[in-house]
Amino acid sequence: MQLSDTAAEADFRRRLREWLGKTLPELPAAPDPADWPGRRAYDTAWQRRLFDAGYAGVHWPADAGGRGATPSEHLIFLEETELAGAPYVGANFVGLLHAGPTIATEGTPEQRARLLPPILRGDEIWCQGFSEPGAGSDLAALRTRAVRDGDEYVVTGSKIWTSHAEVADWCELLVRTDPDAPKHRGITWLAMPMDAPGVTVRPLATLAGTTEFAELFLDEVRVPVANRLGDENDGWRVTMVTLSFERGTAFASEVVACRREVRELARVARANGAWDDLELRRETATLAAEFAALWRLVQWNVSEAAARGVPGAGGSVFKLRFSEARQHLYDLAARVVGTEALLDGRWTAQRLQGLSYTIAAGTSQIQRNIVAQRILGLPKGR
């Protein structure tokens, strides 16, 4: 067991830190969160800088244009960029972390050549069309239909929880191509151009009052068959393949951020007197221990993934605990700041946002099912 960097890792970290130190001060001011074109421009400019410096797709295989870094180096990348306060992956999220890796694994040479380089350079933005109003936890119940018509699919239906839809060039879309097959067997993966006729984007206001997500309405949208990844009706497997790209690094930046938040909260508590309350002090300390351990769990999972080539089963365990710890953090913050928690300020915004943590990317209930059935081998109920 070793937690310190290898020589190569230390070198990678040092160079990255140097580059960040030089580059970050040159960045323009971050755009207003409501200014979608401004956000796209900001995020893609950052991606272009990463690309020029050789840090685009750190974790992508070299033959897909990435750096081919080890999982440990990828983790260092995430840790250092977060510690340095570098921009969040933002609009590049789906392209870099989901659609891109899927195409790298499952795409034809033509698809890879056409679609991957613009992701790495920050030229093209992707969004994700998976969830539907009727298909959330039960994603495979999706009903958006695609009917083959010559060289095209004609797609009709709707999607929800699509981030960056307003400024995306492409959508990785899951559609049902065989309504008669068992639900996992009739799904197909398509790369849909967002400017295709019939695509309507409607911003979706969240409980925080912001519009981070959109709904997509698809009305006989024609998508070339050439945009299909993998075989027809094989889209479920194609999509799941990408999850095995995940090398324990999901949420790594967020853990680093939460550890900073706990320290910040302690500072606020010291300043406003809440620190004198033994209960609040101990609860803050408990969370500090929890996030410290969660960071170690990230390192453990990354090491496992690096050694075994596949991510360990630790992902669901991590997700379960991390989601709850983050919500606990912002509930605690509300008690620390007192009546300020009733104002729409910094801590409250985080608290509202945090309400999604036990829901998005697999509810805590689903995570527990996974842990119980796939890790512990408990039987499915009747």
């Binding site: 959330g136 009546t339 009733l342 309400l355």
Partner: protein, 292 residues
Amino acid sequence: MHFRLTDDQEQLRRALRELLADREASWAELTEVGLFSLRVPEDAGGLGLGLPEAVVAFEEAGRAVLPGPLVGTELAAAVLGLTGRAEVVRVPARGPVLVPDLPTLEHVLLLHADDALAVLPAAGLDATPVPAVDPDRPLWRLEGVLPLGEQSPQAHRVADEATLLTAALQAGLAARTVAEAVAYARTREQFGQPIGAFQAVQHLCADMLARAELARVAVYAAAVDGDEAEIVGAKLLADDAAVHGARDCLQVHGGMGFTWEARVHRLLKRAWAWEQAGADRGRCLDVLAGRL
């Protein structure tokens, strides 16, 4: 002992539930049905009822997530003999002094930590509007030096009864969260069955109900008994039932609950707001510990 609603109390509850069922009642309507004059003596134009009736009524108001200065207006009339809208504002242990709905108020009943009460004309207050997280409960921050208050039996009554009526609001809100969660769980299908058929969802809802029921009974008992320890205990249980319930209600709603449109978030935001009205958790626990 006959610890259940009397027929009159049942009738009051039914009338209010009907009035508040599908729409938001106007302030005039609430006044008309006597929400604020329940406890005003009959010879002063009120209904001459007691704290138990007020609590039953405020439970319904909480269930309907009514906006507006409910608690203060009732207390101003019942305890202080003042007419017009009023709100009780406690000087918090931490954070700014916030007054909800300030421009609509005639009186602000400012309670200090020691229960000293200052009855202030709302019009003259130095206050700044601030962005509130609950969209139906706009807030103003009091600026400058806070006026001193006076301790008195009346002030203590305002303090205790503000806590109790707020607990009643929370108990009603908690019951609402159960109803909304259950209604959604019965109709929303995933994996080929209503999500309410999954044991995980059932147990979440069962715990929600248990919290709501215990809080409700505690609030009723505190209204009948009037003891400070029962009141603060009821407030603790009602806050927990409302906040935890609203949180779980969102979880049951999944992604849908995260939309503005679904309005589930209003339950949580209101529960947070009412949690900070009346005696705070630290004070409630101190009172209880002091009795042991």
